[in-house]
Amino acid sequence: SSHEHKLNFKKSKEVCLNYIQDAMLQKQWKRAAEFLTFYIESLEKDFSTAYMGPSEMIWRIGTEILCHHSHSSMKQFNSFIEQMKTLGVKRYLKVCLEHTFHLLCNGLIDEAYQNLSLAESWRFGEQTAIQDKEMKLIQAYRGLLDYYSWSKQKDILLEHGQNGFEDLSVEQEMHSCFRKAAVNLKEIIKIPGVWDLFVKCYVDLLEFYGDHNEACQVLNEYAYNSKFPANPNAHVYLYQFLKRHGESKKSLISALKILHDIVPSHELMIDFNTMLQKSKKRKKRQLGLEVIFAALDYAGWKENVKAWSCLARQVKQIVISEKHLDWIKQEWNSRKDWWPAFHFSRYLAKRNWQENESLSYEKALVAGILLGKDCKYFKYVSHQGCKAQVKRFRILKKFVNKHNPVYLRISG
């Protein structure tokens, strides 16, 4: 009966798909390709209303196979994708976008650009929300490629300018590239998302043409609009922009303060700490200590010599001046139950001494002050250092012994 026939057909389709998947997951691309040729038959009776019909599967599987198959060429790939584009209307934009990516990754930027322009001019009935998003992405990538050609022409022009002659046509082309790029890039970065690449390019364009206000506004929007995800890069870009344009210390600090609040472990925290340490205001110096302590809480910073030396320097300053010992005490209070095991164990002392002497020096200083001269880490490192006749370790030992009462005040 026809029902049975349909069932059998469905079953054999599934079996075939399983074979394909199996072959692909074992990197047997040839075998997978053979099975795929059989699977194409399933298109004949594609009445499925499923989200992913056979045509989409063929596109996905075919693309994957062609990417890995040893005998495939770019020509074959292009012709396959062209066929796939005609196979499903709903998927046209997606296929175009993926095709562009393939071309871009293979260095065929002009072809990719053509492909994007073609896709952009495509119209079919009413667009769904997904298609709308895909269209925006297509435009944004075209804008990106426009930006790259703009920057190339800019480079040419700058070179020519150095040589002393002007090229009007190049300049005109450059400006038209700018316009095309700016329009498209501006559009996408209005929509909530992660647009690091596009924002950077757009800001670069604006900065070149001197539109600093617009650039600053774009960056502020990208960093502070609550509809956007909390992207640390947005704050980094803003900070870098402010720094480039010589903004005041205050605005730089406030930009980094926000970054500190969302990502205390960001690598810019060292810059932030140095900046704060130099400040004359007590509050800022206290914040600096807080920042460096917070950064060293994270496992990724455990062996960061720079950070440890920042902390060691500041702690040393405070101990010598004997002012603001309460800052250290405050920071230490929430850490004294786990920092010793996390940073200052005997095992780590051994390892740090073997692997990185200067790290162990900085850490030993901090350990000696925070935990006293009897702390395992300090004892081991200073002992080893003195044995190895390294001068700074002897000085370190003297310093810690001299300031041992500080430890009592901190821990008390």
Binding site: L17, Q21, D22, M24, L25, Q26, K27, Q28, W29, K30, R31, A50, Y51, M52, E56, W59, R60, I61, G62, T63, E64, C67, H68, H69, S70, E98, F101, L104, C105, K133, Y148, S151, K152, D155, I188, P192, V194, D196, L197, F198, F228, P229, N231, P232, N233, V236, V263, S265, E267, D297, Y298, A299, G300, W338, A341, F342, S345, Y347, L348, R351
Partner: protein
């Protein structure tokens, strides 16, 4: 660790997931996702792009064609786990339900009736005892007489099954007043049973009346309550069949060597009958990893669900989770040092998660199904961080919770099925942020749920892996909610186990995902931030499927069917854990992947890294034979199968020579040993796995067996017939009266006259006309009797010259068929089906006496015979029959078929010895 300078573009929106229907079957292929400029741009140079997915990864090729047993088989009689067929309804209702697409129908009634039949004492015990005097089940009219009223119920009625031994005589006057006749009801039930499965089945009014009357008081446990419990249990069983999350995380852990380059690591795994023994096994990494010495062993009082391990401060800490207990062990740094148990905690609600801190020694996190999350420190004890029976982001019924560590030693991630949150242990109420949400933020599908989160600290301190049933995500704590990587993994079952093998700078990190029921293993590679110019996370190389344990079955030599079936069951047991070890041997690198099955077997496979490969697109199938196609046991075409576990003992010296022909000798040797150990040890416990054979010694006296000196004519005849049938490819069905019989039936032994009714009856049964024999015995029709006599004489003439039953091989066939029918536990039988003899109308009511293990004098008393439901007219037959034993006490007693079968199959005996009797009872050749 720097944050990537530029992230891949992506949209961000909030709210519940919008995409419906789950990803398609090939959703993970053919997509680059997004592209990004690769590295800093140089002047004048063309920009190059890298994709989010699809870059070139490292090449890791499987070294063997299948996973190889790493340890001897777990010494336990593994009970195959529940399968859907056990609890699903099969029949009309299910078909109807399927048509309506309402999903699975649990066979609640069957389970409940199983309960009544299997545990009648629990179900009806006291009322059965109270009432048995008042129920009369005889055939005669219930009236005042001198005969005692006997309560006797066929075993299927639970009422009486509870008290079959209580056959008391009650004074009939009382009986008359208080006894009711239940025979009709019993017959009704019998009919109902016979029509079982009939779509037109209707409840008889009498039965309905009875059940209405009794429903409220008959049951020991109130029926509603009992039904609720059974139903609840069924639902639980079904849910755990669909998805069992108790083993999330996996119960296998690898403790890598202490020093880089050392070759000795440790494998921690559960074993034993109840998987309640914890083993720490030293392992030497070689071509095939080898266990060294005997493992350190700890006996725990619970099924080990999860083994988690992490190294902190140069020492390994191993956390072990069972349902109500969690323990932590410390494995000291020096090699050979014994692991020491540190602490155990008990939970009142099953724990669902145990993870070990990679930052601080002796810290763990524990979650229970009540929604509590604890930070457990060996020194400071337990600190509850959260207690919330509700899920975090939207309502989900699952009580499963998970928790893991993050880049900050005081911040823990907490997960339920709806997402992940990070809490600061110092102020858990105030300080927390959402790390992952099932929703539009991560582009999830509707119905998507978190299955396993894992902290990827060894690859990158702020990255986390989250797997759902559809996809894998990599998340960065510094950019919460937006996955830095997402890929549809296309696995058939949700990945419950994951393992990370971090790669160094400029290398990819390897993530292994494992599923439980399907045993799937998938290797993914991703590249985190590279040093210098921080680049975003990329998935590199195509995903790769590794060998599953069950996959080795096709490479094993051909096995006997029952053994094959057993192996299939054993090897196909759901996976219970996953671990991997990276072995660096000079320039050569290999990854050893260990897989644990629920039966407690540990298998291992090796992947070798081919670093020399040019960055050109990988060409897996051209360069080398497709993995899986190379036979594990390759032998010259003419030689017999190389691996004959059957003939292990005889092989002896040959073994050495034969091994040379193996494709992978070491692997083959491992298999050989494993199979041998399996069949020697525990592998064959289900007795019914053997073909149902019966020792003839128990059936016949030695004298009878000894009689035929040479091949008789019947032998010849039967051989001829057998050969002919074999040629034709048919089957011999001696008991089929309808089938044309090309040769005369095997002739019965005829002893002198009627002296031995038992033999006469048995021979009649064998020759296929037992019904007639019965008529002879019972009928008062003289004509018939005469005809029967004539017939017998004719047979006598024909059968001259043979004296033994054993001459007939069909007789043993019949015995086997009886046997298979008798014992529920022996479904495999040589006979193609039950005897096709149907008692004729008018033949006595069919009913088998419940066979007792050993006959004794009491058995022969009419009283006890009556108790056993044997009708009066048959009692004599049985007495005669049993009296045969008494004739020759020196000989081993010949038992009637049913009893003999019990002696041979003790499992069925134990079933019979309890109050219940064989569940299925069919009319068969009666006595």
């Amino acid at each position: 660790m720097e944050f990537p300078a530029v992230l891949f573009p992506s949209y961000f929106s909030v709210g519940p997931p919008r995409e419906e229907g789950g990803p398609g079957p090939a959703a993970g292929w053919g997509e680059y996702g997004q592209v990004l400029e690769a590295g800093p741009r140089r002047r004048q140079a063309e920009t190059t792009f890298v994709p989010r997915r699809g870059g070139t990864g490292e090449s890791w090729e499987p070294a063997d064609a299948a996973a190889v047993p790493f340890l001897p088989p777990n010494a336990s009689c593994w009970i195959p786990s529940l399968v859907p067929q056990d609890i699903l309804y099969r029949g009309v209702l299910r078909r109807k339900l399927q048509a309506g697409k309402t999903g699975a129908a649990l066979d609640f009634t069957k389970q409940l009736s199983h309960f009544f039949v299997d545990h009648p004492e629990d179900a009806f015990g006291s009322l059965g005892r109270l009432l048995h005097k008042n129920f009369y089940l005889g055939n005669s009219k219930l009236r005042v007489s001198v005969h005692p009223g006997v309560t006797m119920l066929p075993p299927t009625l639970p009422l009486a099954a509870a008290s079959p031994s209580l056959c008391l005589f009650s004074p009939q006057r009382q009986a008359r007043d208080n006894t009711i006749r239940m025979t009709a009801l019993m017959e009704e039930i019998g009919r109902l049973e016979a029509r079982c499965g009939c779509p037109r089945q209707r409840l008889a009014p009498r039965l309905r009346w009875f059940s209405h009357l009794c429903r409220d008081w008959l049951f020991e446990v109130p029926l509603g309550l009992l039904a609720d419990c059974v139903h609840e249990e069924l639902l639980l069983q079904w849910a755990s069949l669909l998805f069992d999350d108790s083993s999330t995380g996996g119960a296998l852990a690898w403790l890598p060597p202490k020093d880089v380059g050392a070759r000795m690591g440790r494998l921690v795994y559960p074993g034993g009958q109840a998987m309640n023994h914890l083993y720490f096994q030293d392992v030497v990494l070689e071509e095939l990893p080898r266990a060294r010495g005997s493992p350190a062993q700890f006996e725990l009082n619970g099924h080990i669900r999860q083994v988690a391990a992490a190294r902190a401060d140069g020492e390994d800490f191993v956390g072990v989770r069972s349902d109500y207990h969690c323990g932590v062990w410390r494995v000291p740094g020096r090699t050979g040092a014994a692991p020491t148990p540190l602490q155990v905690i008990r939970t009142s609600v099953p724990a669902s998660c145990l993870t070990v801190s990679p930052h601080l020694p002796g810290e763990l996190s524990v979650c229970t199904q009540s929604g509590a999350v604890y930070l457990w420190s060996v020194e400071r004890g337990l600190q509850r961080l959260r207690h919330d029976p509700q899920t975090m982001f939207f309502r989900d019924h699952s009580p499963w919770r998970w928790s893991d560590f993050t880049a900050h030693p005081r911040v823990l991630s907490c997960a339920d099925r709806t997402g992940l949150q990070c809490l600061d242990a110092r102020a858990p109420e105030r300080c927390h942020f959402d790390l992952f949400k099932v929703g539009e933020e991560a582009g999830c599908q509707q119905g998507e749920r978190v299955v396993l989160p894992m902290y990827l600290g060894r690859a990158h301190p702020s990255q986390h892996l989250v797997t759902t049933q559809f996809s894998v995500y990599v998340l960065d704590e510094r950019l919460p909610l937006v996955p830095v990587l997402k890929w549809a993994h296309m696995m058939k079952a949700p990945p419950l186990f994951a393992h990370l093998t971090p790669g160094g700078p400029e290398r990819s990190h390897k993530v292994l995902l494992g599923a439980s029921h399907t045993q799937e293993l998938l290797l993914l590679q991703y590249q985190g931030e590279r040093w210098g110019f921080g680049s975003a996370c990329q998935l590199v190389g195509p995903p790769q499927k590794l060998h599953s344990i069950a996959g080795c079955l096709q490479h094993l030599p051909v096995q006997l069917p029952h053994r094959h079936h057993m192996l299939q069951q054993r090897l196909g047991a759901p996976a219970a854990g996953l671990a991997a070890a990276l072995q660096e041997d000079g320039l050569r690198e290999s990854l050893l992947v260990f897989q644990l099955s629920e039966a407690g077997d540990v298998f291992c496979q090796r992947l070798t890294h081919e670093a020399a490969q040019p960055p050109a697109p990988t060409s897996g199938d051209e360069a080398m034979p497709a993995p899986g196609s190379s036979p594990l046991f390759e032998t010259p075409a003419s030689s017999p199968p190389a691996l004959r576990s059957e003939e292990e003992e005889e092989e002896g010296e040959e073994e050495e020579e034969e091994e040379q022909t193996f494709y992978f000798p070491a692997a083959a040797l491992r298999y050989r040993r494993w199979l041998k150990a399996l069949s020697e040890g525990c592998g064959e416990p289900p007795r019914h796995a053997y073909p149902a054979t019966l020792s003839q010694k128990r059936l016949f006296t030695r004298k009878e067996l000894a009689t035929p000196a040479g091949p008789s004519t019947l032998h010849e005849q039967l051989r001829r017939q057998l050969r002919q049938t074999m040629r034709e490819g048919g089957c011999i069905q001696r008991w089929d009266p309808l089938a044309s019989q090309p040769c005369t039936p095997p002739q019965p032994l005829e002893l002198a006259g009627d002296a031995d009714p038992l033999s006469a009856r048995l021979t009649a049964a064998w020759s296929g006309d037992w019904g007639q024999w019965w008529e002879e015995r019972t009928s008062f029709n003289m004509a018939q009797r005469q005809r029967a006599l004539r017939e017998r004489r004719r047979r006598q003439k024909r059968a001259r010259g043979r004296r033994s039953l054993s001459a007939s091989f069909t007789s043993s066939l019949t015995y086997q068929s009886e046997l298979s029918e008798l014992s529920d536990t022996a479904p495999t039988s040589l006979s193609p089906g039950p005897p096709a003899v149907v008692p004729r109308e008018g033949s006595p009511p069919a009913g088998v006496p419940p066979a007792s293990p050993l006959p004794d004098e009491a058995l022969l008393s009419s009283q006890s015979l009556r108790c056993r439901g044997i009708p009066k007219e048959r009692r004599k037959t049985l007495r005669d029959y049993l009296a045969v034993w008494a004739d020759d006490p020196s000989e081993p007693p010949e038992l009637p078929g049913s009893q003999a079968s019990q002696l041979c199959i003790p499992s069925s005996q134990s079933q019979l010895s309890s109050a219940s009797q064989p569940r299925r009872k069919r009319p068969r050749m009666g006595f």
